[in-house]
Amino acid sequence: MNQSPSETTPALELVELSKHFGNVVAVDRISLRVEQGEFFSLLGPSGCGKSTTLRMIAGFEEPTSGRLLLDGQEGSRLPPFKRNTNLVFQSYALFPHMTVRDNVAYGPRRARLSRTEVASRVEDALRTVRMWEYADRLPKALSGGQRQRVALARGLVNHPAVLLLDEPLGALDLKLRREMQIELKEIQRRVGISFVYVTHDQEEALTLSDRIAVMNGGRVEQLGTPEEIYNRPTTRFCADFIGEANLIEVRVGDRSGDGRVSVVLPGGGTALVGSVSPSSADSATATLVLRPSRVALDDKEPPHGAERAAIPVEVRRVIFQGSVVRVDLEGPEGVSLSASTSEADTSDLRVGRRMWAHWAPGETHLVEPTKSGTP
């Protein structure tokens, strides 16, 4: 789905876009490009500015500064009804007094398309979301998932340059949400419209997106493919927010010439790290990011070195989570970390047992320390 940026005009481009509400900076100079046909997610906790960004793109908030290009055209001062974007609201915001058909036909009718054109587009859109059979119902006669589909069709039917989705699955239960995720991705692939998708659910963002912008405090912390963001987080926030992560404060030891960096672990052991983010460069201390799924447990001390890094730990808690078992551990200097294992038999993991936690150094990353300076 990704096309190389140089070939085509991006569907959407934000340049140093900011939004201030009084003294509060909701969005702080963010820049990003959404390519034609791309599924792009804005991911972050509530209050990170992702919804404000989306509302600026839709035209409901006017940017304080910066530029907003839709299909290469400056659009930040256009009112919503003149923009080639459509928004799927979290609460769906269907017109309660109109049938499903009239809801979906609302946009095309405003565009003054001919009667037959409107009818065929509406049918297309409703078939795409598998709601054609419900065309004559009122929204109140639909379930949450069905309303969601209608809201999606109401946006798709206009063939917007960008379809904006504001936590569209937020009101659905987990099982339905999973189903809709897959279907949403499928629909997006089929219609080829660029999606900008706002969510606070990192799993949803990883599942759906071609690329993700992780937002925090009004800024983009990291921008990349789901694999990049999961496997090589560039900031402490990203590592913590995306997936489970052990964050271990370490001293940076050797920065050898070949680019490999070694750190001093709690307890005094040293270990190599897989990658170093710019945010931790030239700092004396740093945070080691280690995914719990990469941590193995052993009774015997494993051979240290380039292949394996290890620290001694004591089992604090064993939590059964269904498909995996999470083991909370305490290491030297009071450091806590957890390991998740999918092994069937964990009955020998008793609280208080002393073991070794070890991992492959290549699977760790170094990001900035808690506060710049001392950990």
């Binding site: 035209g59 009804f81 974007t85 609201f89 915001a93 309660p96 609302y106 206009n158």
Partner: protein, 355 residues
């Protein structure tokens, strides 16, 4: 139903069925005392209905009702009627009663030493050409006033309900306050503004816009419509405001997002979604305007006469109670038809949205 009962059961009786029987025969006051001894979760058990007959979502509602009129089955059935008997009684005595008296008067020969025998003369007198003429002008003036009110009240209600933010309550209070003013004081206020040497004419002449005072400002149809419109504004805004409040503002954003400008949004979304408020406003405003006799009497002069002032005249000055009653009833019937028609229009255009 079973779970909330459990703590109560242990506090009162062991078997729920026994408990049910006890509650059914006990005096309500006893029940109240009993309820004080058990925890809040057990309030529901005071009701005489067997648990199996209940649906889960009735629980909370019934728990409340049970406290208010727990007791024997028949008492429970009668309690609501007892409760509403007072307002109904007041209405019957002070509203329907006088109306019935007027109805009788309208069919009797009464005035000028009449003997009270049956007649239709009053109705014949009430549809004489000179009265019909006033009736026609009344409906024209009332309709114009109502339309102006709707045109002005819609944007006002829209801004108060959805746009002004923290000024919402102050503005509503100001609107309510403007209606607290004694109507007579208010109408005389208008007279000082609109009079030949009043505020408007003085300002216009001092600014050199007009040479001579404008005579059409007061004691004309213009002044009647103006004062009626100003007087009934709160009654038009408040039902519309209430209707606007029920609109999810995201729905308005959706309309804008889908390409609708403000007028299209109004026509396709706001108007249909406030149809109930629209009809309510028409009725709430039209009826009192038609029956307003103070405004046309004080600022209407001869050209701005309305039906209500004719009726007032018939009763208070000319002693024609029979004709006055007949005219009152004709007015009531026509008003009823107007209300019914506006309701029908809202239905036909599928504007009646009870969502």
């Amino acid at each position: 139903m079973d779970d909330p009962r459990k703590p109560g059961d242990s506090a009162a009786t062991a078997d729920p069925r026994e408990n049910h029987g006890a509650a059914a025969t006990a005096d309500p006051r006893e029940n109240a005392e009993l309820s004080a001894t058990v925890d809040a979760g057990a309030f529901a058990m005071l009701g005489p209905v067997h648990p199996d007959e209940r649906r889960p979502h009735d629980e909370i509602q019934e728990a409340v009702l049970d406290v208010s009129y727990a007791g024997r089955g028949n008492r429970r059935r009668w309690a609501p009627y007892v409760f509403i008997s007072t307002p109904v009684g007041v209405l019957l005595t002070f509203f329907a009663g006088p109306l019935a008296v007027l109805a009788v008067y309208s069919f009797q020969v009464r005035s000028r030493g009449g003997d009270g025998s049956f007649t239709l003369d009053n109705y014949r007198a009430a549809v004489q050409p000179n009265i019909l003429e006033v009736a026609g002008s009344t409906f024209v003036l009332a309709t114009i006033s109502m339309l102006i009110l709707l045109v002005l009240a819609y944007p006002l209600a829209y801004f108060i309900a959805l746009k002004v933010g923290r000024w919402e309550i102050p503005l509503l209070l100001a609107l309510a306050l403007s209606d607290e003013l004694n109507p007579l004081i208010r109408i005389f206020g208008w007279r000082t503004i609109l009079a030949r040497n009043g505020l408007v004419n003085t300002v216009l002449q001092n600014l050199g816009i007009t040479q001579a005072p404008l005579d059409w400002l007061l004691f004309t149809r213009f002044s009647v419509v103006l004062v009626l419109t100003a007087s009934w504004m709160p009654y038009a805004v408040i039902p519309l405001y209430a209707a606007m409040k029920t609109i999810d503002r995201r729905v308005l954003e959706a309309a804008s997002d889908l390409g609708a400008g403000w007028f299209t949004t109004f026509r396709t979304v706001i108007l249909p979604l406030t149809a109930t408020g629209f009809v309510a406003t028409m009725v709430i405003v039209f009826i009192p305007i038609v029956s307003d006799f103070a405004t046309p009497g004080l600022v209407g002069g001869t050209s701005g006469r309305m039906l209500a002032s004719v009726i007032e005249d018939l009763f208070t000055r000319r002693g024609e109670w029979g004709v006055g009653s007949a005219l009152t009833f004709l007015l009531l019937i026509v008003s009823g038809v107007v209300v019914y028609l506006s309701y029908r229009i809202a239905r036909i255009r599928n504007l009646d949205t009870s969502t």
